[in-house]
Symmetry: C2
């Protein structure tokens, strides 16, 4: 058995059965092994940032890692933007990066690069496998590393000869270390704060604390103490809709965040970090809480929030409490597209258990308020701020859900252009993805930021901030990649197209002129 | 004057007047300064690998660096594939990477990344500027570093507060260190080898040694000694066509390279590296020359080949020799597209002084043989092997030529998909770019490499190697980004479209079904 075969068998033995790929020459023995050993679903992305973003979306929904297959340092580099996002989302991914054969590396052939150095910048675990005999074991360690709670980026660099040489040994699945326990003192401290200052306390949640299981417990704590619940702005995934909490996120805009958080004397962090601005601004603080706010950690991002919250509920003796009904489901809005109207229309029409991939950027900041009464859904956000993850994450999420859930992309046009190749994979895999492109023909968020500098953008600035010359035709782009599409100028048109798309098991793109 | 303004003025003072950009929030003060200080041409790319690839193409034609403007570590990461290529091409680029304000970095906001660590992997010079007072000087050093012969990647990381704080001082242009002199012994050794073993000697050229000025000298040496001339496969730019040498490149395929080079007892390197395989293969050597071949360096890649060759001509007393006429110009070919026929058609129709951006990958390996008798042109290659540079390089080259030269992209479909956003910039800037997409609906090079493994690709492998399901419609993609386009199934159709395109100052795309 060569190294490559041992690698495929090790992946399958550990339950990794999906590979997002854009292979190259140095990976051909691995590709051949994927042919020979049945069981791996391989999904091609036409650029590596699509590949890594799909792996991120897959993890968020399947709650287990996929592997990626990338070609040498530059192939990894092409996918690093979305690995950065995935690392921030705490998604688990096993990257397999083919590389020069060990004996060939000293010759500095053109594709030779500092692959390990690149990998370090976006991975919690990096290893270059150097011997076929150890490849299986190395891979098993990578897989375990990727599953360290809640998820990590593990990058295994695979020199071509380690892949093709004989002597491969299948690596037995390794035990994943349990998440570190939450200390009893942390529970007791949080309980004490909540008992004394409940109404002045914000419980800020992130990571898995924003998912369904934690929410029931959070609600009991909030009901018992009068504390406010909020999700971190960059939470990767929030369980939303009927039966879930009407959580709001901390605002993106610094002034709004300061205002929203200023009244809290205490912030208890549940798998969230203390809230800070996305960027620093002149004369503004970095943190979003008041100077005298006390910060307290109930559970770190690498700890299990459900366990911590169960203990907290017990410590508080918080009674059962049912999450309240969010009121009537919104109706399809009409007229010119507005953020509120689009949010209502999505809430009105989305099927049960849908997945929303939200990279709506500036247009979508108010979507939450109008979608609390939607059916239960998982709402996915850009956690790392590197635009271009919305479409790949949607694509991977659809595969992670085994095509059994509708995926709705709420997608700004500027960031969609970063990884538009995702649409082709949606067509190839016939995924139930509905993409709504919010076509405003500009980097609107930046025009806002420019104005913060204290001026109106001039000709030179606008040459870098507007996208209308020439206009991008998203219907044309989608069709050219095999995805059906149509344009909508009103919300009723958009609603009709959504309804029609939700009835089909194939991808569809709506270009909404906003 | 704030830091940003000092930076813009420093760039302009050193002759950097073109900025390829995809800015973000942390760069807004720099964008504002670009508005306030006239003189910088800003060109937007819709993804950073387009931005960096354009800067590479610009340098190759303008022979001076442009700057890029990138947003934080992840924005840099998105552009690293083509920075890898540019580094291999020895192009000079000044990257300006906006980043978190110095005071904000410790808060680990979402976009915070190991920007310097990323930059190190693709740059010869990296600095994080930490004080507005020093930004101008730092920038002047970056600009000088980028111009170190023949060119280097210099990355200046610009924290937002260093940009917005007052105290900026314009940096005076710094002297660029001269290229290290070629030692008299190197000249004498080369001359001795050529005198004794001329017909058994290969002179392998790379970098600027493949350009016009060096070629005249190379021809005199070859004529005087019987040596063979060849260009390195990964030479970034070769001066070709009438009045230039009918150079061939070392073959890509390992067996062919070994065969082509085996007869040479001596190889003299002129700004080239000793030839090695693009990849290592089982049972194959890494080097492409015979085991007993003697390697000798006339000039290193960082030395001036023209000076070295002038000295060599003197040492050999090599008489004047005119580069021979390449024979009649080919005629437009007809019928189904073949590599030879397409090459002939391009040679038959290309205007004088055209630029060819060749990322034809497997289809185009034989183009040279049929294009020696074309008009004089500059032929650009992928020097780093990271696919996706063809379209951005073409775009940047057109800007580097101030739209005064026709740019022809010979572009494989798989690699075109990596950076197709380039077409939008071509339309926005109204560039005289003619793109010929070689649509074979597969990663053909990889199917060949798979067969080298000793098997025929099965279903799983083909799911990662073929692009035909669904078919990409390149006419549709181009139109949707504002570029006129048409499909051709025969060479005469392709020829007609080329002729029509060459008559217009706007971009055009031909989708050639091969």
């Amino acid at each position: 058995m060569n190294g490559a075969e041992s690698l495929v068998r090790t992946l399958l033995a550990s339950g990794i059965d999906t590979c997002f790929a854009n292979p190259g020459t140095s990976e051909m023995h691995f590709v051949a092994a994927l042919d020979q050993v049945p069981g791996m679903k391989c999904v091609l992305g036409l650029q590596e940032n699509v590949v890594t973003g799909m792996a991120d979306g897959y993890f968020r929904i399947a709650r287990k890692p996929a592997c990626t297959l990338l070609h040498c340092g530059p192939g990894l580099a092409n996918g690093m933007g979305n690995l950065h996002n995935a690392r921030r989302a705490r998604s688990g991914i096993v990257n397999i990066v083919g590389d020069q054969a060990t004996f060939h590396r000293p010759f500095d052939a053109p594709l030779t690069a500092d692959t390990a150095g690149m990998a370090q910048t976006v991975s919690q675990w990096v290893r270059t496998s150097v011997q076929s005999e150890h490849l299986g074991r190395d891979a098993a360690e990578a897989i375990a590393a990727a599953q360290v709670f809640p998820g990590q980026i593990a990058t295994l660099i695979l020199p071509a000869d380690v892949s093709w040489n004989d002597g491969g040994v299948v690596g037995a699945p390794l035990a994943v270390p349990a998440a570190p326990e939450v200390d009893g003192n942390a529970i007791e401290n949080a309980a004490r704060t909540l008992r004394s200052y409940g109404p002045d306390t914000l419980i800020l949640v992130g990571g898995p604390a924003a998912l369904s299981e934690a929410q029931g417990l959070l609600w009991r704590v909030a009901q018992a103490t009068g504390a406010t619940l909020m999700a971190d702005f960059v939470t990767a995934q929030v369980a939303r809709g009927r039966g879930r909490l009407p959580l709001e996120r901390t605002p993106y805009v610094m002034e709004a965040a300061l205002k929203a958080l200023e009244r809290f004397k205490h912030i208890i962090l549940v798998n969230a970090k203390a809230p800070v601005g996305f960027f620093g601004y002149p004369g503004m603080p970095s943190t979003q809480y008041a100077p005298d706010t006390q910060i307290q950690v109930l559970s770190r991002p690498d700890q299990d929030p459900v366990k911590a919250l169960r203990s907290l509920v017990l410590a508080l003796n918080a009674p059962e409490a049912e999450i309240p009904d969010p009121g009537p489901r919104p109706e399809v809005a009409t007229g010119s597209p507005t953020p509120e109207g689009l949010a209502q229309t999505v809430a009105a029409l989305m099927p049960d258990n849908a997945i929303v991939s939200d990279e709506s950027v500036s247009f979508g900041r108010g979507f939450y308020k109008f979608t609390h009464a939607a059916p239960a859904n998982d709402w996915l956000h850009l956690a790392g701020g590197a635009i271009g993850d919305g479409l790949p994450v949607a694509t991977g999420a659809a595969i992670g859900a085994q095509k059994q859930r509708r995926v709705i992309s709420l997608q700004a046009d500027g960031s969609a252009m970063y990884s538009l190749q995702s649409l082709w994979t949606q067509a190839r895999e016939q995924l139930p993805c509905t993409t709504i492109i919010l076509n405003n023909s500009k980097y609107n968020i930046l025009i806002g930021e420019y104005k913060n500098v204290g001026a109106t953008p001039g000709e030179t600035a606008m040459s870098m901030l507007e996208l209308g010359n020439p206009s991008l035709n998203w219907v044309g782009l989608a069709n050219a990649m095999g995805v059906e599409a149509a344009r909508a100028s009103t919300l009723e048109q958009c609603g009709d197209l959504m309804k029609s798309s939700f009835g089909k098991q194939t991808p569809f793109l709506i270009e909404l002129m906003v």
